[in-house]
Amino acid sequence: MEMGPRRPSVRENPGGIRGFLLMEAVKLHIPDGFLDTRTWVSLALVSGGSIACAARKVRVGLDERRVPLMGVASAFIFAAQMLNFPIVAGTSGHLLGGTLAAVLLGPWAGAVALTTVLVVQALVFQDGGLSALGANVFNMAVLGTMVIYYVYTGLARVMRGKVILAAGVTAWFSTVLAATAAAIELAFSGTSPLSMVLPAMAGIHALIGIGEAAITSVVLGMVYKVRPDLIYMPGYTSGEGGAHLEQP
């Protein structure tokens, strides 16, 4: 992205302005080559299975009013992932969006939404590797959305219904969780020793998570004002059947 001085990234650089323009953006989306074969194959299988399950679960659960949201929430998350914000000198972060998806669409549809974004990013924009797609889906759609939904509902209960606050904390946690998983995967692959890559990843994403928390809270706060019925609330055993917001 030609937006200012940028060091060359992973590709062999043809040099000059063409080289500058061909620079590949590596994001929290793991590119091909970072993970060894057994790791990315395993993750691809696990992710494939998980998302297939999620898709089946949605089939019985997605209520009509959320159908358009599947489109536009995914669109928003895609767009927001393009908006890198500076964290510390020399490093930027961007929205993951898993918490947003989970709170608005529930764990299953939310995971499918994130997966849609990730697949389009990898296949159309070369953002994230092809073999690494399973890993990215696992970190962001499975952990970052499905699992995070239950973190959110648990927190919302503990916080006695303060859903926006719960979502904010969950959003911070989702970033750290996804980054930790990525670090473990990198260590498993022998790409980098765990003792080094884990603190590095967790540390930087603890900071990026603050941005995630802020954006998520603000966006959900606005949705809450206009369409509180779209916010998933804990306290319903039927869960994904379309919750109504209780007054905190």
Binding site: E2, G4, V10, V26, G33, R59, V67, A75, V124, V226
Partner: protein
């Protein structure tokens, strides 16, 4: 009030608003996104495995993503290329998401 209006027209204004916001975010990203590498890239650089990112399956099977690095081909202005890429991506994701959403709720109607 707003809530009732929204639900009365089928939530269309809310849906449209979110989409418009997404488009605006693309514009903001094209102009103001930080050029600094993100968390993973930074760590990869520091830990010395960033160069590995050019190997792997995508290269082996010669996958050719049409809009690499969010630069829509054919635009000399990098910023414009990013904007078009972002619009296209947002639209594509929206359409696929909508399609999947329809698929996943229609079946429910047939469910007893």
């Amino acid at each position: 009030m707003n809530n009732l209006e929204n639900r009365a027209n089928g939530g269309k204004s809310f849906t449209l608003t979110v989409l418009v916001v997404a488009v605006l975010v693309v514009l903001v990203a094209a102009f103001f996104a930080s050029p600094w590498p993100d968390g993973l890239e930074r760590v990869a650089e520091r830990m010395g495995f960033l160069h590995l990112g050019r190997t792997g399956l995508g290269q082996t099977i010669r996958l050719a993503p049409p809009i690499p690095d969010y630069q829509f081909p054919g635009f000399r202005n990098g910023r414009l290329a990013t904007i078009v890429a972002g619009f296209v991506g947002t639209l594509v994701v929206c359409i696929i998401g909508l399609g999947l959403g329809r698929l996943m709720s229609a079946k429910r109607k047939n469910h007893t």
